[in-house]
């Protein structure tokens, strides 16, 4: 027995509320972030991820109060991403109670941000989020701006470069699968997980508990992230863990 595979419920937060959409559009309100975080914590979530998709600059600061409120009563690791543009943003989120900060678009626009933040705060708290989409050559391309903008970057090479610059973890989302409930993109997940020496979180497409198992067994992911199957009460984190354990995956059970 050793290190457990992690289950990470993800909360997409817009203007201080949890929302969930399909392929990054068509958002539904899913509730109060502090309440949801508390529930996942009591169900045995191993970490929580918050992705801030706040639309307006005026509402930017809301995520800080959400994180502060969650960190005051939930004692598991918190990852926060979305809208991180400079080292000062990383510091603000860490000071609010985030344990890890995730960067996506800003890492593409300014890769030095990753190395600066890693050398300042340590690789352990720098997550690079990669949104990838299949291309016609049979590979995967990195997209930014919430999956709207192609970059021409190869996702596998990009993940390796991010590791070199100091990322401590990769949060990998398949844009094609996100919100579809058809399962992780397993070839993509495996390609990236096998190409880097840092942990990889698989994200995008979970529709049932078998998908979580496949992310680990076939995708070689170190952690699996899901949103809608947990938000709308289809499954509890506990059920997910019990199922994964039945399938021979090491998980943390309380």
């Amino acid at each position: 027995m050793g290190l457990a595979k992690r289950i990470i419920p993800c909360l997409d937060v817009r203007d201080g509320r949890v929302v969930k959409g399909v392929s990054f559009v068509g958002l539904r309100d899913a509730g109060d972030p502090v309440e949801i975080a508390r529930r996942y914590d009591s169900e045995g979530a191993d970490e929580l991820a918050f992705l801030d998709i706040t639309a307006s600059i005026e509402a930017r600061g809301l995520i800080l109060s959400v994180i502060e409120a969650v960190a005051a009563e939930v004692f598991i690791p918190l990852t926060v991403g979305g809208g991180v543009r400079e080292v000062a943003d990383v510091r603000r989120l860490l000071n609010a109670g985030a344990d890890k900060v995730s960067m996506n678009t800003s890492a593409v626009l300014n890769p030095q941000l990753v190395s600066e933040a890693a050398s300042r705060f340590g690789s352990q708290c720098i997550v690079v989020a990669i949104d990838a989409k299949a291309n016609e050559q049979g590979g995967w391309e990195v997209y930014t701006h919430g999956g709207r903008q192609a970059t021409g970057l190869d996702a596998v090479l990009w993940a390796q470069r991010m590791q070199t610059l100091g990322a401590g973890e990769i949060l990998l989302t398949s844009i094609d699968r996100d919100g579809t409930k058809s399962g992780f993109n397993l070839p993509l997940t495996r390609a990236i997980s096998d190409a880097v020496g840092i942990p990889v979180i698989a994200s995008g497409g979970v529709g049932n508990l078998q998908h979580l198992v496949e992310g680990v067994t076939e995708g070689h992911a170190d952690a699996v992230l899901a949103a809608s199957i947990f938000h709308f009460g289809e499954y509890s984190v506990q059920q997910a863990k019990a199922y994964m354990q039945q399938q021979g995956i090491e998980v943390r059970l309380n």
Partner: protein, 221 residues
């Protein structure tokens, strides 16, 4: 005269101290918890928590620049003292991370995972990140009410190799066993993050805030 706080969390500008202080306040609502870089306040505190994340060299430099080395050494020698993560590694003599000297309070060194095997060893990733089993090697007041093999949250790329096996209070496997908790007299230090380890972590912090600083180490038979 500085009025003594109950728990001083040593602040040397590195890492997320808020989560440590929040967790302490949660387990000890009556206690006065101060996140501080004032050596006098650390000297006057009843107990001291020494956290840390980031790079060892940076942490040692910040500690020295803020004039905190003596206060930390004194606290580690005299009162209930809890090192966490890098705050554990810094207690030792030397680290492979940047080839730097630590505080030298405990004999031993800090090594990198799979340092001589490249980035990957059998598919294992570095940092060692997530919930792993903590195998209690010796009874200690800080393990009270915590099951052997309870899982705690780890995130680190380096681990300590104490020169004195007697001080190893718990071990963890990734994939080979390493010391994840050490104890000596009034000092206890852990590689994992109790402040992020949910129930088990909060119990350990609760044990610490009640601990008088006597280790009374006995082997778990």
């Amino acid at each position: 005269m500085v009025s003594g706080v109950d728990i001083a969390v040593v602040d040397y500008g590195m890492g997320n101290l808020r989560s440590v202080s929040k967790a302490l306040e949660h387990v000890a609502p009556q206690a006065r918890v101060a996140v501080t870089s004032d050596p006098d306040m650390i000297r006057a505190a009843k107990r001291v928590v020494f956290p840390g994340v980031g790079a060892m060299g940076d942490c040692m430099r910040e500690l020295a620049d803020r004039g905190l080395v003596d206060a930390v050494k004194q606290a580690a020698a005299t009162k209930p003292f809890l090192g966490i993560c890098l705050g554990m590694q810094m207690l030792f003599e030397h680290s492979e991370e940047g080839d730097v000297a630590g505080l030298g309070i405990l004999p031993g060194r800090v090594r990198r995972f799979f340092g001589d095997m490249g980035q990957e060893a059998g598919g294992l990733k570095v940092p060692h990140m997530g919930w792993n089993e903590v195998h209690q090697q010796r009874a200690h007041p800080l393990w009270a009410e915590i099951d052997d093999l309870a899982r705690f949250y780890f995130v680190h790329s380096y681990y300590v190799e104490p020169a004195d096996a007697e001080m190893v209070s718990a071990s963890c496997a990734y994939p080979f066993p390493f010391a994840c908790a050490v104890a000596k007299n009034n000092l206890f230090a852990v590689q994992f993050h109790p402040e992020k380890s949910q129930h088990a972590g909060l119990i350990l912090l609760g044990n610490f805030v009640r601990w008088e600083g006597h280790s009374s180490q006995q082997s778990v038979a």
